[in-house]
């Protein structure tokens, strides 16, 4: 932490050495480090301005989305930019919901995300437990099979999966959307890494008490692994909710579309200047739920997403 803040090189060298216990008097850097007012101002400016700029670059477009979703066509189709909407007018949301069955899309997304994530997390827990705690001859081979699957890009499999799922009647069905994504290499990998760090003694104690695998799994391993399971669950929820290419291909009827696909439909019907407010209302409905989940539980999500190279 005290190593560098290159944004403001000169004042930073003062900050950097302040915490160093052995930076006694008489050392060269110490000379030009009076805790003067200008120095302090420079440090703050050097530290804060880049942070504020970076934050604004991210926040402003999202804020613009929310503000625009309340604007009437007259406030958008205009030469003068109006930053704030005239009022909290929900007209756009109403139009978005009546032009296309948005409620249906929302429900479909909710079902796909809930069912898909629940099954994936359970499969990941079961497989990871088996890989770590159950004796089996070819465990390493199986683990490599899972690792390689982690690196297979899902995008290149869409055509064969489409042909397979459409062939068994899964087109325009929710199970057709959910099924191909259910196998989970990512969750299995992450939980296996965690289970391997658990002390063997707690399981031995349970085994001596006569607990079988099933009880050891649910009463010992799962309760002590809740943070890792939460990480897998949240990363899965995020990717299921946002998933686009597969639901886009396997559905072409509004009844089974998920939110991202439904937004595409809305874009086709409202893709003119006056429709931007409606489209922003639609974007709010797909973005805000995940943003809220992220705001509340971002620690787990960031940890999970930066751990593996591939999600899903």
């Amino acid at each position: 932490m005290s190593t560098l803040s290159p944004v403001s090189p000169n004042p930073a060298s003062g900050v950097g050495t302040r915490n160093a216990p052995d930076a006694g008097p008489g050392l060269p850097v110490h000379r030009d480090r009076p805790f003067s007012r200008t120095n302090l101002v420079q440090t703050l400016a050097g530290g804060y301005i880049p942070l504020i700029v970076a934050t604004l670059v991210v926040v402003l477009p999202l804020l613009w989305m929310v503000l625009s979703s309340f604007k009437q066509p007259g406030e958008i189709v205009t030469v003068d930019l109006k930053i704030l909407p005239q009022g909290l007018n929900l007209e756009n949301y109403h139009t978005a919901m009546t032009t296309v069955p948005f409620g249906r899309f929302f429900l479909n997304s909710l079902i796909v995300t809930t069912v898909g994530s629940t099954v994936k997390v359970i499969l990941a827990i079961l497989t990871a437990y088996a890989l770590v705690f159950v004796r089996f001859p070819f465990k390493n081979v199986i683990f490599v099979v899972i690792l390689v699957a982690l690196m297979v890009p899902p995008q290149v499999s869409i055509l064969p999966n489409y042909i397979l799922i459409a062939g068994i009647g899964g087109k325009n069905t929710l199970w057709g959307i959910i099924l191909p994504g259910l196998g989970t290499a990512f969750g299995t990998f992450l939980l296996r890494q965690h289970f391997k760090t658990l002390p063997g003694s707690i399981l031995e104690a349970a085994e001596i008490d006569g607990a079988g695998h099933w009880r050891r799994l649910w009463q010992v391993v799962v309760p002590v692994s809740l943070p890792s399971i939460a990480t897998v669950a949240l990363v899965t929820v995020v990717s299921e909710w946002n998933d686009y290419i597969w639901p886009l291909i396997i559905t072409d009827r509004p009844e089974t579309m998920t939110l991202p696909v439904g937004l595409t439909l809305l874009q086709n019907s409202e893709g003119n200047g006056a429709g931007w407010g409606i489209l922003m209302a639609g974007a709010v409905l797909v973005i805000i739920p995940i943003l809220l989940v992220f705001a509340a539980l971002q620690r787990y999500i960031v940890a999970g997403l930066t751990q593996g190279s591939v999600t899903g």
Partner: protein
């Protein structure tokens, strides 16, 4: 923490501290047999799904790529490698490969350079870095479709914020969507915006694990901040840089959501993945041809992954 995934194939199992029940019994005792079936019961559903929906499509893709086949048609002719020849000799090939290369190089370079700069800002010792870190990471978890629409509105030549800002300095807004080159620029900007937070957070973790004593020694020797950054931080961060290079390259090559929503016709933005989609599910229904493009894309991704596995152990140590 970030390299666990890529590092593990080399050392798949460390049995010593893991499995409590390791004592060797009879070769096929009741317990061994029971464990055998317990393992299958627990792992088989997941493994079967992975086999059917991850591995099988790879094989099928190669098979489909040898067919002259219209999607939805009941009959197909085997044409061998004609689809590949058609693709590489068509006028589309230089266009698609060029767009893919341009998109990948600029998004990877842009996300990594800007990500590192943001990581440096996040690494400063001021208040509010926790909030800024979350904010910068947030776009990475948001729906590409939602984000694409928001930015499409911002770029709108008639009513977008950008056109308004440009008018403020006396400029006319360019036609971002209709001009093929500008469409690519637009999609690249939004892609970098969405993904640089990932690079920033990974770089931040790298920066925070740099050895403090080396830095302090350098500053005692009179090295200023930029010098310390270039001569110490950058080389010490090389494993992080390599990890990010590979992961961002793989995800850029698969970028779909933003391209689809911002440029539905792929005018100037047809990367390999998007061309494969358009050929099969756009106007043409050319399933065999699309499969051959997917195989080309998969081959490229495979080469990158193999490179990653080969070089991942070459970590730099300075301690």
């Amino acid at each position: 923490m970030t390299r666990q995934l890529t590092g593990s194939p080399a050392a798949p199992a460390a049995p010593a501290q893991t499995v409590p029940a390791r004592q060797s019994r009879g070769r096929w005792s009741g317990r061994t047999r029971r464990d055998f079936f317990v393992f299958l019961a627990l792992a088989l559903p997941n493994l079967a799904l992975i086999a059917v929906f991850t591995y099988l499509p790879l094989i099928n893709n190669v098979y489909y790529s040898t067919l002259d086949w219209t999607l939805g048609s009941a009959s197909a002719t085997v044409v061998g490698i004609d689809n590949y020849i058609n693709f590489f000799t068509s006028s589309d090939a230089p266009q698609v490969l060029g767009t893919t290369a341009m998109f990948t190089v600029v998004t990877v370079g842009g996300s990594m350079v800007l990500g590192l700069l943001v990581a440096l800002a996040l690494n400063s010792k001021v208040r509010g870095t926790t909030f800024a870190r979350s904010a910068v990471f947030a776009p990475y978890v948001l729906s590409g479709v939602g984000v694409g629409l928001v930015w499409l509105f911002i770029f709108d030549p008639g009513y977008g914020v950008l056109s308004w800002l440009l008018r403020g300095i006396g400029q006319q807004s360019p036609q971002w969507i209709n001009d093929p080159q500008l469409a690519l620029v637009m999609v690249i900007i939004v892609y970098v915006w969405k993904n640089l937070g990932y690079c920033a957070v990974v770089y931040l973790a790298g920066l925070q694990s740099l050895p403090k004593d080396v830095m302090e020694a350098a500053s005692l020797d009179g090295a200023n901040g930029i010098r310390r950054f270039m001569s110490i931080s950058v080389p010490l961060l090389s494993p992080t840089t390599f990890f990010l290079l590979i992961t961002t390259m793989i995800s850029s090559l698969q970028a779909f959501d933003l391209i689809r929503i911002m440029t539905p016709l792929g005018n100037g933005t047809s990367t390999l993945i998007y061309e494969a989609y358009l050929q099969a599910f756009g106007a043409y229904n050319r399933a065999g041809y699309s499969a051959s493009i997917s195989v080309v894309l998969f081959a490229i991704l495979l080469i990158i992954t193999v490179l990653q596995l080969r070089f991942v152990e070459r970590k730099v140590h300075y301690s």
